[in-house]
């Protein structure tokens, strides 16, 4: 389960719309409690480092940006608990490429942006054997509602 505040959700949606028709990307900074529940406290948007002609369907995060995000998170008593990216005019489900590139443990939040307007948002976690990208329940705190998706 991953908990996202209303502010964080709005921020992710704004980033997705701002960079449409390109994919946006960034870090999820937050905490994980003893029961494994994840809470996103803030996001850290970074430029999509993919090639200009690829950015509409790919994202890449520069290692330098990851290094800075780790440092910033540690200074604030938070951890990098995952990443977000957008799927312009595409469902918020991970692609095969997403799965191949993913790392276990991290939460991968995906936002669908349709014709420039943010749509559904979901979160995914790679299985330990890398075979499956499992859906992770994403709760948006301010709205007092849980968004659930099935395969």
């Amino acid at each position: 389960m991953i908990l996202v505040s209303g502010d964080v959700e709005r921020h992710i949606r704004a980033e997705g719309e701002k960079w449409y028709p390109d994919e946006c990307c960034g870090f999820l900074l937050g905490q994980i409690d003893e029961s494994g529940r994840r809470r996103v406290e803030d996001i850290l948007p970074v430029p999509n480092a993919g090639q200009a002609e690829e950015r509409h369907h790919r994202f890449r995060i520069e290692p330098d940006d990851f290094m800075r995000a780790e440092r910033q998170a540690r200074l604030r008593g938070l951890d990098v608990i995952g990443f977000y990216h957008s799927h312009p005019d595409h469902p918020a489900t991970p692609s095969e490429y997403d799965r191949e590139q993913a790392l276990p443990f991290y939460s991968y939040v995906i936002l669908s942006v349709r014709r420039g307007a943010s749509a559904e948002i979901s979160s995914w976690e790679l299985s330990g054997d890398r075979a499956l990208f499992n859906h992770e329940e994403l709760e948006c705190a301010a709205q007092h509602r849980a968004r659930k998706r099935r395969y």
Binding site: F59, I61, M67, R68, E70, F83, S95, Q101, Y106, Y108
Partner: protein, 109 residues
């Protein structure tokens, strides 16, 4: 010389949840090797079968990527931090065909 390894969240399952670990080493390569020696389960995540560091793993000494310095020979001053940073990518497009792009990502753990 004592250096501090900063461990990304995803690898803390192998370090008893520790976010940083102190090891001995005069170069980035020595420090990472000492770290992998202390936590053998992490070895496979950092090195390929040939014993080379996996290509999607970046090592930082302070705020410098060793790829832009002397690689694993990059000296680490006493008390400096060494950070393990994975490369992150994805996107809605399906995976490219073989040969369409150079594939130097290597196999992920």
């Amino acid at each position: 010389m004592a250096v501090t390894i900063l461990i990304p969240t995803a690898l803390r399952a192998f370090t008893d949840r520790k976010a940083e670990v102190e090891v001995e080493g005069g170069t980035a390569g020595e420090a990472i090797a000492a770290f992998a020696g202390a936590y053998p389960d992490i070895r496979n995540h950092l090195y390929d079968d040939g014993g080379n560091l996996r290509s999607f793993i970046n090592i930082y000494v302070g705020e410098k990527n060793v790829k832009n310095a002397s690689g694993l020979e990059t000296p680490v001053p006493d008390g400096e931090t060494v950070m393990i940073v994975p490369a992150i990518a994805g996107g809605k497009a399906p995976a490219p065909d073989c040969g369409a792009r150079s594939n130097d990502k290597g196999r992920r753990p």
